[in-house]
Structure formats: structure tokens, C-alpha cells
């Protein structure tokens, strides 16, 4: 069966520090991969999605970047965090080529101080 792992679960970082959140999927090949951000009590904002290795689409201009170095690995990064980067980051995957359901990780809560 397919599983998705996302880490770290929580982190507190100072403004200006770098960020790396990692997500891996097991049990499937060539998944679509997504990073969403959720502000407190709000809906999800799509940040990045990827349909294949090295293929990244960005939805909004921001202080973040994403990379897909391997088929089932998706990394969210920042060189210098801003206060506004605080939030709950969710990685998700879906079957390639579908507009079907998303399978979410458990999320990473980032607090920038």
C-alpha cells in the first residue's frame, strides 16, 4: 500500500534562517506531488506541484522553492525565512495524470520567530 512521510513534524526557526522540509512517498511510481500551506484556521494555499523529476510548477511568487530530486521525493526550501512563512505545510500526492483524490502527509508546523 502507498504511504507518505513528511518531516519534521514541527520546527521553530529564526527569521533569516534556511528551511528544508522533506516528503517521500512509498508504494507508487511517478506520482504527482504537491506542497500546500495552511494558515491558522484557514484553507489550503497551493505552493508547488510536480508531475515528474525536475518538473516544478509554482503557483505564487514567494520566498520558497521546491525540488524533486527523485521520483518520490519532494523538498520545500527557503534560503532566508520570513515571519510570514509561518504556517502548517502539507505535502500530498496523487496518481499521475488524474484529477482524483489527494493523499496527504501529516503536515509540518513551522513557526518563524
Amino acid at each position: 500500500s502507498q504511504t507518505i512521510h513528511q518531516w519534521p513534524a514541527t520546527l521553530v526557526q529564526p527569521v533569516g534562517s534556511p528551511l528544508s522540509l522533506e516528503c517521500t512517498v512509498e508504494g507508487t511510481s511517478n506520482p504527482n506531488l504537491y506542497w500546500y500551506r495552511q494558515a491558522a484556521g484557514r484553507g489550503l494555499q497551493l505552493l508547488f506541484y510536480s508531475v515528474g523529476i525536475g518538473q516544478i510548477s509554482s503557483e505564487v511568487p514567494q520566498n520558497l522553492s521546491a525540488s524533486r530530486p527523485q521520483d518520490r521525493q519532494f523538498i520545500l526550501s527557503s534560503k532566508k525565512l520570513l515571519l510570514s512563512d509561518s504556517g502548517f505545510y502539507l505535502c500530498a500526492w496523487s496518481i499521475s495524470g488524474s484529477s482524483g483524490e489527494l493523499f496527504f502527509g501529516e503536515g509540518s508546523r513551522l513557526t518563524v520567530l
Binding site: N32, G41, L44, L46, G105
Partner: protein, 111 residues
């Protein structure tokens, strides 16, 4: 702006009552999906309804879709305290590869 907007933002009911949440969206869609999120956790897929469907059932869930009004509703019948969570609609727009989520309805079911 969010493609989907849920209504109400918050809903509090007693166990055994039915809960109805509504979702409106703006553009053409291939399908509409509903997800559930327990506090501090990831989202879990509940049900998907395609643009050519009008109603779908899954256990205690009933979803309707009105593409002429660009709206959907999620009905949870005979609610339980364990149904307490936030519920989000998400749309798969035509020509888009990613889902767009609404702002969610926070459901509280009192035991």
C-alpha cells in the same frame, strides 16, 4: 482568491443531528471533492463527485453538485462526536493539474 468557499464557517450541532455544509466555486470543474481535517493533522479524502453527477452517497455522507449554480453540499447524517473536524471542498478545474481548496467549515458535534 480561493476557488471554493464553504458556508457556514463554523457549525455546532448535537450528536444525532444532521450537518449540512455548502461550497461555492467560480470556474468550470472536472470534479469536486470533500476532505476532512482533524485538528493539527493532514487532510483525508471523503468523497469525489464528477461534473456530470448530481448526487453521490458514501455511508452517512451525501454530496450534491449543481454545476449551473456552481455549488455543492455535504450532508452528514446522524452525526457523532467523532465527526468533529474541519471539512473542505476542493475543485479540480478544467485544465488544471492541482486541486483548489476552500476555506473550510469547522464542525463541532456535541455529545
Amino acid at each position: 482568491s480561493q476557488q471554493g468557499e464553504e458556508d457556514p464557517q463554523a457549525l455546532s450541532i448535537q450528536e444525532g443531528e444532521n450537518a449540512t455544509m455548502n461550497c461555492s466555486y467560480k470556474t468550470s470543474i472536472n470534479n469536486l471533492q470533500w476532505y476532512r481535517q482533524n485538528s493539527g493533522r493532514g487532510l483525508v479524502h471523503l468523497i469525489l463527485i464528477r461534473s456530470n453527477e448530481r448526487e453521490k452517497h458514501s455511508g452517512r455522507l451525501r454530496v450534491t453538485l449543481d454545476t449551473s449554480k456552481k455549488s455543492s453540499s455535504l450532508l452528514i447524517t446522524a452525526s457523532r462526536a467523532a465527526d468533529t473536524a474541519s471539512y473542505f471542498c476542493a475543485t479540480a478545474g478544467t485544465g488544471r493539474r492541482a486541486l483548489t481548496f476552500g476555506s473550510g467549515t469547522r464542525l463541532q458535534v456535541q455529545p
